[in-house]
Every structure is written in C-alpha cells, then in structure tokens.
C-alpha cells in the first residue's frame, strides 16, 4: 500500500514536471500578450526533433548516444527552438498585435498545423525511437519502484524551473518582462524596449517547452510529430487551472493536474465500485478544472479582475 503510494507519487511528480515546463510557456506568453499560443505544443515537439537531428549529425547512430552527446544536443536544441520561437512571433503574431484578440490565437493554430505537417513531411509521420539519457536503473523504495530516468527528469525539470524563477524574479531581464506584462504602455513610457521583452518571452517559453519535449521523448523513448497536441492541451489546461499569466500558478496547476490524473487512474474504479473506470480519468480532470473555475473564475493563483475595474470591450 505504502509502496503503491510512493510509486504513484513519483509517477505524478514526473508527469507534473513535464506538464509544468510546457505550461510555463503558455502562461508567460499569456502574461505578456494576453494571447493563447496554440503553437506552443509544437515547440515541445520541435525540441525532440531538433535534438534528434543534432544527434544524427553529431554521432550518426542515435541509438548509441551517450549521456554527454545527449546533454550537448539538449542544450543546443533548446536554444535553437527558442530562436525558432522568436522568429515565429515576428512573422505570425507581431503583425496582429493590435488586432482582435482572436486573430493571433488563430494564427497560432495555423502555425501549429504547418509545423506538425512540415515535420511529418520531413521526418515521416510515424513515431521514432528516442535514446535515453542514462541507463534505466530501478530502485526499490519502500515497495515502490523509482527509475533513474524519473529522477533525472525531476532534477532537470526542477533545475530549469528554478532557473526560470531566478531569471524572472532576480534578473534585470525578468524585471523588464514583468514590467511589460503588467503594463505595456507604462513600460513604453519609461523607455523599456517592449519588443525586446516580448521576444525574450518567446525565446524562454519555447526553450522550456523544447526542454520538456526532449525530456519527455527520452523518458518515454519515442517521439512523433503529433506528440505536442495532447500534451499541449494538458499543459494549457494546467496553466488555466493555476491561473493563466501566473508563473507559480502554471507550476501548481501542472502538479495538481498530474496528481488528479494519477489519482483518478488509481482511485476512480475503487471509489465508484467499478462503475467509472480509468477511462473516465480525463472527465475527472476537466470536471475539477470546471469546478475550480466556478469558485475562482481566474484560476487558483490568477488575479481575479473585477469587471468593473477594467473596461472589457469586445474581445474579438
């Protein structure tokens, strides 16, 4: 029983860490531009593919890649995807910055569709095996099984999240980004380079997403062109649950969602005496999301903006 509990906790933490890395990208872009970037799931996918491509160029036989080559590919790939993210913003979203709110969102849908299909054409539609960072070693902890890969993912994800926390809360870049996200006009008035700050966000968000993608591909051992769609939706749900626009919210939302999913799988059949099986897990996740939003319409850590204090004109 205890073993099972530990097992499930570690499982949930691992999934939550990956969700969090992606949710952060959604929430940062939203914080600064009030825009849902539907192409963000594809940054996750691109991370894995770029890393794979680098490995192929680096050592030829990807299957035999060692930890050092992988780490090198990891670092380069996330930066490459970050730059791709900045480029996409310039081409597909910047022209729409003063347009309706729906326009950049749908433009991002177009970007997402193009990227998935582009990769399908270039790399083939079928899933591809992805090498693991370290040999999978299993540890028995009080009856639960924890694999070295899970530990690795947790360490890497938390390191990145800590890095982001440092960047946002301690660095000058972070101050600028937060200033721009709070009020673009005021930031402009103070002579802050608003475009630079937005580019920064579109660099860091995809970078984290790509990191999530590589960790994910390495954890599960495969990647596919459509891998961003499902996990992107989950991460987006997590970001909304935590309160979109809030960085701690995204992380909290991601872990809550992961625990709900794991808990749903483990407990749904037991609690409902088999009436609702594990197949209703996603229903549970969405139901909890809806309940949370009914109580807190702006998510758990989101700032509830009263309608009277801000003039809401048409959204699209």
């Amino acid at each position: 029983m205890l073993g099972n509990l530990i097992q499930q906790t570690v499982n949930a933490l691992t999934i939550g860490a990956i969700y969090a890395l992606i949710a952060l990208g959604y929430t940062m872009v939203y914080g600064v531009l009030r825009m849902i970037n539907f192409a963000h799931g594809e940054m996750f996918m691109l991370g894995a593919y770029v890393a794979f491509l680098l490995l192929t160029m680096l050592i030829g036989d990807v299957g035999a890649a060692g930890a050092i080559a992988l780490t090198a590919a990891f670092v380069v790939a996330i930066f490459v995807v970050g730059i791709i993210g900045v480029g996409i913003e310039r081409v597909a979203y910047k022209p729409l910055r003063n347009s309706t709110r729906l326009a950049p969102m749908l433009s991002s849908l177009g970007v997402s569709l193009s990227l998935v299909t582009g990769i399908q054409i270039l790399a083939g539609p079928q899933p591809v095996a992805f090498p693991s960072f370290f040999p999978s070693v299993r540890y028995e902890v009080l009856g639960g099984t924890v694999s070295s890969v899970q530990i690795g993912i947790l360490v890497a994800a938390f390191a990145l999240m800590f890095g982001l926390h440092f960047l946002v809360n301690r660095s000058r870049i972070g101050i600028i980004v937060r200033a721009v996200s709070e009020s673009r006009p005021t930031a402009q008035l103070l002579g802050i380079n608003v475009n630079g700050a937005i580019s920064m966000v579109f660099f860091v968000g995809p970078l984290l997403g790509a990191a999530g993608g590589i960790l994910y591909a390495s954890y599960y051992g495969i990647m596919s062109p459509t891998m961003g769609a499902v996990i992107g939706l989950k991460a987006f749900t997590a970001a909304i649950l935590g309160g979109i626009g809030s960085i701690p919210g995204a992380m909290l939302g991601a872990f809550i969602l992961a625990f709900v999913e794991v808990g749903g799988t483990a407990l749904l059949p037991v609690v409902t005496h088999g009436v609702l099986g594990t197949e209703y897990r996603d229903v549970l996740s969405f139901a909890i999301l809806i309940l949370v939003l009914l109580v807190r319409p702006a998510g758990i850590l989101g700032e509830a903006v009263s309608e009277e204090s801000i003039v809401y004109k048409r959204e699209f």
Partner: protein, 331 residues
C-alpha cells in the same frame, strides 16, 4: 479594433461585382449539383453540413462574442439522437422528422445545461471550459458502451424518410441540407436583426454597459447557447442519417476548432462569411487531394496568411445578406 473598423468601408462598385460573383457561384452550384457525379454531391453535402454548423456556432461566437470550443458536443448530441432512435441499437425506428424535433429539443436543453455553469467566465476561461465540456461528452459517449456502442459506434442506421419520401441518396440529402441551411440561415439572420440580436451585439461590445441598460445578460447568453446548440444538434441528426453510421471519432476537438476557424477566416459574425470560410476550408483540401500531406501544410500557411492580411475575415461583418440583396437588386 480599428482594423475591423476600416474594413466596414467596402467600396460600392467592387462590392457589387463581388455580390454578383458570390450569387452567381452559389446559384450555379445549386442548379448544377443534381447533374454532378455523386462524389461531388457528397463533397457539397459535407460543405453544407459545415455551413450549418458554422451558422450555429456563429451565434455564440460572432453575435454574442463568447468563444465556445466545445460546439462539437451538440453536433454529437444530434447525431446520437438519430443513431439511438433509428437503428437496431435500441430497436427503435422513429420517423426522421420526429427525431429531428427531439434532437432540436435535446440540443437546446444541453445548450442551456452547459451554459449555466460557464457563463460567469470570460474569454479564455470560457474557451477552455467549453472545450472541457466537449471532451467530457465525447469521452462519455466513448465509454457508455451499453448505450452508444462505445468506440464501435452505431452502425446500420435506418434510411431516413420524410413523409413517405425516402431520403437516402446523396442528392436527396443535398436537397434536405440545402433547405435546412436556407431556413436556418434566414431564421438566424432574422434573429440577428431582432431585438435579441441587438442585445447579443451589445453584450459582445461591452457586457457591463449592456447590463447598465437593463439587459439580463445571463438570459440573453443562455438564449444564444440554446439556439446555437439546437442548430448544431439538427446538423448532427442529418449527418448521422446521411452517414448511417456514427462513432465518437467524428466528434473530436479538432472538429470544433475547424468550425471556429471557418467562421474566423470567412468573416466573424456574418453568415456570408461562414459560407466563404467553409468553402475554403472544405473544398480546398478536396481539390488538392492529390498532394496528400502537402495540402495540409498549405492550408496551415494559408491560414496564417489570411489572418494576417484580413484579421476580420474575408467578408467583413458589415457585408451581410441584407447588403448582398441590396447590392444585387437595389438602387
């Protein structure tokens, strides 16, 4: 906002030419369809179903300004109404028109039931919650095997017949769909011009000010959800009758997103825009069928291009059916 404003000023002369072109193409299609091979009729039928869905969803998105990403749920409600009431699944074989009525009512009820909890939410939060509802409905359908057949779906649906006339061939469905689309289009257009339509517009423009002039925004929004769901449900019932097989695969999130895209690319809040959007998103992939995956890439890039060039859609909101008629026959 200002971008949308400038688009309202369409130059009358080119507008007239465009009107005639639009009208001529539509008329030519309607006249020619009975003589086309069945494959083309099926493509046009599928186009008409999407136009019908677009008309329904547009009420919520275009008129009332609420981003609904779970519209496909209502489509599913309608489709499964037909599948359950006219198939060996429950061994019920109700007449088509009766089922259509039941589907419409069920759609309205689900619309209101889903609407009540979500209407406090705004914008993106509303979007994700409606998306969640859409997914919940799909998952439930996929898992209630005893009723819906689960992933296997329901096969061998009855052939539909209206007052003794069998509706089974693609061309029969073409006429059925054409009439439905026209009736729904006219009614919805009249609804938009009614006092309720004005109230929706007010809510879309400024919800707080709308309350300030005495509009019960909750009721008005529920009315939007209910009408939109009714149309979606009717479209679902006709879809099921023409496909004679339903399965949860037809009601995924992508389907909802596709309809939203159709509306936005075509011209949000405008029935003519929906026709244009549906034509682009449905016909283009069919025309480019040869190119397999390249066609989807092309579609994605075209989407980005169209939205950047015309963020308010191909047909501006102001160029509605009334203007079309005035341009065609008027002074």
């Amino acid at each position: 906002m200002s971008a949308a404003g400038t688009l309202t000023a369409t130059r009358p002369r080119s507008g007239r030419a465009v009107s005639f072109l639009f009208f001529a193409i539509a008329l030519a299609l309607i006249v020619a369809t009975p003589f086309l091979p069945n494959y083309y009729v099926r493509v046009i039928n599928s186009l008409l179903i999407y136009i019908l869905l677009g008309i329904g969803l547009n009420i919520v998105i275009g008129y009332a300004g609420l981003l609904d990403l779970g519209f496909v749920a209502f489509y599913a409600v309608g489709a499964y109404s037909y599948a359950l009431l006219a198939s060996p699944q429950l061994d019920l074989h109700w007449p088509f028109l009766l089922i259509l009525l039941v589907a419409a009512c069920l759609g309205a009820v689900t619309g209101i039931l889903l609407g009540i909890p979500v209407l406090r939410l705004r914008g993106d939060y509303l979007a994700i919650v409606t998306l969640g509802f859409g997914e919940i409905i799909r998952i439930i359908i996929n898992n209630m095997d005893w009723l819906t057949g689960g992933p296997k779906g329901i096969a061998r649906l009855d052939k539909a017949s209206i007052l003794g006339i069998q509706v089974a061939r693609p061309i029969d469905f073409f006429w059925l769909l054409l009439v439905t689309v026209l009736v729904a289009g006219v009614l919805v257009w009249r609804l938009e011009r009614s006092i309720l339509g004005k109230a929706w517009a007010a809510i879309r423009e400024d919800q707080d000010a709308a309350r300030g002039i005495g509009i019960n925004t909750t009721n008005a929004k529920l009315a939007a959800f209910a009408t939109s769901a009714t149309i979606g449900s009717i479209a679902g019932a006709i879809f099921a009758a023409s496909q004679r097989f339903v399965s949860p695969e037809s009601f995924t999130l992508q389907e909802s997103v596709l309809i939203v895209l159709m509306i936005v690319i075509g011209g949000i809040g405008n029935i003519l825009g929906i026709v244009a959007g549906a034509a682009i998103l449905m016909l283009l992939p069919e025309v480019l069928r040869e190119f397999a995956e390249w066609r989807i890439l092309f579609l994605g890039l075209l989407m980005i291009f169209l939205i950047i060039v015309r963020p308010a859609g191909i047909v501006p909101r102001s160029f509605g059916p009334d203007k079309l008629i005035r341009r065609l026959f008027g002074k």
